[in-house]
């Protein structure tokens, strides 16, 4: 039995790794297309039908580009930093139920690598570790702009972790469990049971914080566009830079899985239709990341901090207190 379990787990891990690495590639394609259509352009068109092979071309470019390690950097840390970003992003996937369990060739498959009973806490913790990628990359780069961007990114990550944690505390109090599968089962009764109806404030706060945690555009301070250079990734080239990219996109996908699971009923009662609806919700949240990038400018770092500590955090705390009172009486 143990051997079967081991093989099953290894297969799941490999599947998650391969699927989401590939999806990260497709994510860049979608992003370019969506941005292009919103700005009345065509986007990638030349390579393959509708530019679909652009992903392959980008992949070949990233893999074969010379891997430059500049002089003066702390080379070991410089080399390991992108791996940390990508690895932590994929580690977080271990506790996410991607689909309801289904039977294939008479064998029941649970599409979750490990259903630990502290799932959401583990995911937040590991995503928090993801901050070491940009931070160490920036500090090892021996470049002032990299260092500034790393410090700014780290400050944003740490501040918004507070918002993420406090905002999901209220739903956790209602469900009484930290496992994402339990969250899903709590909302399995249909649209009326979704947590978003009882916790709309927590939903909005978590969604806002998700942008900061993944470093997406309204809060894209890890690589500040006004400085014209690419933040902590300035000194990186080739596949090492690509790993940062894969980490960012994988994080976007995983957050898009987590938000529907926590607030929008997840895959419901686990039927085929529920699974399809779940994938639809995930697609919407991923699309929303791209949409905001086309529609919104970046906010200034001080505005971001102001928003975090003076607006969002008090709201989150009040939300937790009110939820506590409502549940008690």
């Amino acid at each position: 039995m143990e051997t079967a379990y081991l093989i099953e787990t290894v297969v799941k891990i490999v599947a998650v790794l391969l699927i989401f690495s590939a999806l990260a590639g497709f994510g860049t394609y979608f992003e370019r297309k969506v941005l292009a259509f919103m700005q009345r352009r065509l986007g990638p068109m030349n390579v393959g039908p509708y530019g679909l092979l652009q992903i392959a071309a980008d992949g070949i470019k990233l893999f074969t580009k010379e891997d430059i390690v500049p002089t003066g950097v702390v080379s070991r840390i410089f080399k390991i930093a992108p791996v940390i970003t990508a690895a932590t992003a994929f580690m977080a996937a271990a506790a996410i139920p991607f689909l309801p369990s289904f039977t294939m060739f008479g064998y029941t498959v649970n599409p979750i690598v490990s259903d630990i009973n502290i799932g959401i806490l583990y995911i937040l913790g590991v995503m928090g570790i993801g901050l070491y990628g940009p931070l160490l990359g920036g500090m090892a780069s021996a470049n002032k702009y990299s260092l500034i961007s790393a410090a700014r990114g780290a400050a944003v990550f740490i501040s918004y972790e507070v918002i993420t944690g406090l905002s999901i505390l209220a739903p956790i109090m209602m469900v009484g469990s930290l496992s994402l599968v339990d969250f899903n089962n709590y909302q399995a009764g249909g649209i009326g049971d979704w947590i978003i109806w009882s916790q709309p404030v927590a939903f909005v706060l978590f969604w806002i914080a998700a942008f900061a945690e993944t470093g997406r555009t309204p809060f894209h301070l890890v690589a500040n566009d006004h400085e014209i250079i690419d933040g902590f990734g300035t000194e990186y080239s080739g596949m090492r830079w690509g790993l940062f990219f894969i980490g960012e996109y994988a994080n976007m996908f995983f957050i898009s899985f987590i938000i529907p699971l926590l607030f929008l009923g997840g895959f419901g009662d686990g039927t085929f239709l529920g699974a399809l609806a779940f994938l639809g919700k995930v697609a919407f949240f991923f699309f929303f990341f791209l949409w905001t990038r086309a529609a919104w400018p970046d906010v200034r770092p001080d505005q971001l901090m102001w928003l975090c500590w003076k607006v969002l955090m008090p709201i989150a705390v009040i939300n937790v207190v009110i939820t506590g009172f409502v549940m008690m009486f």
């Binding site: 143990e2 081991l6 003066g72 950097v73 702390v74 070991r76 840390i77 390991i80 630990i116 009973n117 502290i118 806490l121 583990y122 937040l124 913790g125 590991v126 928090g128 570790i129 901050l131 070491y132 931070l135 160490l136 500090m139 090892a140 021996a142 260092l147 410090a151 780290a154 400050a155 990550f157 740490i158 972790e161 469990s177 930290l178």
Partner: protein
């Protein structure tokens, strides 16, 4: 068997990481190795089935405490080696070996005499998050709250130390005093600039 393999693997990794932390003269290596060691320690909690403590170990030590160290590192050039002052090597190694042996003896003594029993055994059918909560909010409520108050005190004093001119309040002063103070400041600034 998997447990044994996992235990020895993570034991080796943890010790290796902390060894690097102590011996290296490159600040970034030390920071990274310490963070990695903290994460590897959480593996022991997971092996023992204490999932909640394992996740908390990752969140608190690697996520929060180490990130604050990293902020501290921003103040100096991390790409250069730190010049360390080495004192008497005999005393250093002697003291550290003595401490290590003492710690091992302290923790191994109850095991050897097999005199170990749980004050608050696990409740059957309850997850360990709930178990930790029950012990924390019944038996250890007072220490828990005292720790919270201490953290609050530390936070307030941190704000007061870091904030400038926190001891004088503009709302309590009348307009004339404020104008006077401002004129005096401007005068001082002029002197410094010229």
């Amino acid at each position: 068997m998997f447990e044994a393999i996992a235990f020895y693997l993570f034991a080796f990794l943890t010790i290796a990481m902390f060894y690097i932390t102590v011996t290296t003269s490159q600040a970034l290596y030390a920071l990274t190795a310490l963070a990695a060691g903290m994460i590897f320690i959480s593996a022991f909690f997971f092996i023992l089935g204490a999932d909640f403590l394992g996740a908390i170990q990752i969140v608190v030590y690697s996520g929060a405490v180490m990130a604050l160290y990293a902020f501290g590192m921003m103040f100096f050039d991390t790409t250069r080696d730190v010049k360390e002052k080495h004192g008497n090597k005999l005393i250093i190694s002697g003291l550290s070996i003595l401490t290590a042996v003492l710690v091992v003896v302290i923790f191994a003594a109850p095991l050897v005499s097999s005199n170990i029993e749980a004050f608050y055994p696990m409740t059957e059918g309850v997850g360990n998050t709930q178990d930790v909560g029950m012990v924390l909010f019944t038996k250890y409520l007072v220490p828990f709250e005292v720790a919270a108050v201490m953290l609050l005190v530390a936070m307030i004093s941190g704000i007061v130390l870091a904030g400038k001119k926190m001891d004088l309040s503009l709302t309590l002063m009348d307009e004339a005093t404020i104008a006077e103070e401002k004129a005096r400041r401007d005068e001082e600034n002029k002197k410094v600039l010229s």
